[in-house]
């Protein structure tokens, strides 16, 4: 029997999700024994035309990481959707938008200006910015469109399953592959990780006080955190209470607070709103001035609470004062 064909692809991402596949270490041999990897641009020399030549649904599973920002990424998402039986959004960026999704706080013009013209590290005397069409000596070059927002994969095509994490841990990936190759597939749209909050599997759970009251939020650079005590109880913004479990509390085990990469738990739609609700209600003060003083320690609420999920949140992107056209 022919082995099921599997593809890996990346869009707006950093490559960390590909690293997870490599981090499977010897377990990658089991994966390679069970499936044929037929498309994986980061590691194997196959091109888009090879995917175009395939039959529809001939790929058993495609793991696609990265958010969708350019027209080329959107085209590849559509192409791989057509060629795949199952499409898996792999990692925070394709699941919820990820770190690149924070670009939804800015419009296209200011992004290009900052990156190519105004950044202190820029050396760009010719003031060159990327252009979609470029002609030099009769050679025409085309670049993909830089779209007006960062999107999650499921805002562009149908997605069957989600694998969370920035990046997903090798253990999460291994379990996901086992699930997908198994006989009983979970319902479409399932996030392939536990549904509960990270606190449930946190080794410091027992040290979390029954009633928490935070007088002052602290940042990891401001204190030397005790290695046994609940980080929230030490005033650190730990996103554990509103973040999906599955990573085995890797960051907490490194004595750093959870930053929320696994997204919302199974019963929550908007992770940022939930963690906001949790953090704010822990503040000790009961008056406006005291509350504001405590909140001054969170200078960037969107970047803190939606670090990995702005495009997948309820509001998706900053309101623009420019033209907004209904689709």
């Amino acid at each position: 029997m022919a082995k099921p064909k599997v593809a890996f692809y990346w869009c707006a991402s950093c490559g960390g999700c590909e690293e997870t596949v490599v981090d499977l270490a010897e377990a990658i041999l089991d994966v390679a024994a069970a499936v044929d990897i037929v498309f994986w641009p980061v590691a194997l020399d196959f091109k888009r035309k090879d995917v175009e030549a395939m039959d529809d649904r001939s790929l058993a599973v495609t793991f696609l990481n990265g958010a969708i920002r350019t027209s080329e990424q959107e085209e590849m998402a559509h192409l791989l959707r057509k060629r795949s039986g199952l499409l898996v959004a792999f990692g925070s960026c394709s699941h919820l938008g990820g770190i690149p999704g924070l670009a939804n706080l800015f419009d296209r013009e200011s992004i290009l200006k900052t990156v190519y013209l105004n950044a202190p590290s820029d050396v760009n005397p010719g003031k060159t910015v990327p252009a979609m069409h470029y002609c030099d000596n009769g050679h025409a070059l085309e670049l993909p469109h830089f779209q007006s927002s960062v999107k999650t994969l499921d805002q562009v095509v149908e997605v069957d399953y989600y694998v969370p994490g920035c990046p997903p841990t090798p253990r999460i990936l291994k379990k996901a592959v086992q699930t997908l190759l198994g006989a009983d597939l979970p319902p479409k749209g399932t996030v392939l990780a536990p549904g509960a909050a990270l606190c449930e599997e946190c080794p410091r759970q027992d040290s979390k006080p029954e009633k928490l009251a935070i007088a002052e939020f602290r940042r990891p650079t401001q204190i030397v955190a005790d290695e046994q005590t609940c980080l929230l109880a030490q005033g650190l913004l730990c996103m554990g209470p509103a973040t999906r479990a599955g990573c085995e509390a890797l960051c907490v085990n490194g004595n750093m607070p959870c930053t929320g990469c696994c997204g919302p738990t199974s019963r929550v739609q908007d992770q940022g709103a939930k963690i906001l609700s949790c953090m704010a209600s822990l503040i000790e003060s009961k008056d406006d001035a005291g509350i504001d003083r405590a909140l001054d320690a969170i200078p960037d609420p969107v970047g803190t609470f939606y670090r990995y999920g702005l495009p997948g949140s309820m509001l998706r992107q900053k309101r623009s004062n420019g033209v907004q056209v209904s689709k």
Partner: protein
């Protein structure tokens, strides 16, 4: 595919009527709204009231969802500090409101579009004046249009 339900088409500024979603607590502000009704007070008809047992039940998701689905403003009403039927609920609301306001401001939503008021069961007139005042302020701001999908602009960006 996860696509936003468009609750409302874009409206022109001339025909704009603000849509305000109000979350009132069962024990104080909702009773005050009831009192305003039985006292035949008239207020602007732009508010849709959702009754919660306590303003502390207000999940910030409710507010974001209201904006995402086409509300132009959100009004939250609870018992005065110290008067909460559940003792501490309104303090939690107050803390969340302060943080939520900072978040909304980062997302480009003006401060006046999300308002918290303490209104006791006896203050029917305060319901009337608060609603009228908020409707006028939001009318002046214009439609929020958060629920409108942005078109993927295909032209070149010029910087």
């Amino acid at each position: 595919m996860r696509n936003r339900q468009l609750a409302r088409a874009p409206v022109s500024p001339e025909t704009f009527e603000p849509r305000i979603v109000a979350f009132f607590c069962n024990w104080c502000t909702y009773l005050a709204a009831d009192l305003a009704g039985t006292s035949r007070m008239k207020h602007a008809p732009n508010v849709r009231v959702v009754r919660l047992m306590c303003s502390g039940r207000l999940d910030p998701q409710f507010v974001l969802d209201a904006f995402a689905q086409g509300a132009d403003g959100v009004l939250i009403g609870g018992c005065h500090p110290g008067d909460c039927h559940y003792q501490e609920g309104n303090y939690k609301t107050l803390r969340r409101y302060h943080l939520l306001k900072r978040l909304l401001q980062q997302m480009g939503i003006e401060e006046e579009r999300c308002r918290l008021e303490w209104i006791s069961a006896a203050e029917g007139d305060r319901v009337r004046s608060t609603i009228n005042d908020m409707v006028e302020k939001v009318r002046a701001l214009g439609p929020l249009h958060f629920n409108v999908e942005r078109e993927d602009i295909e032209e070149e960006v010029t910087v």
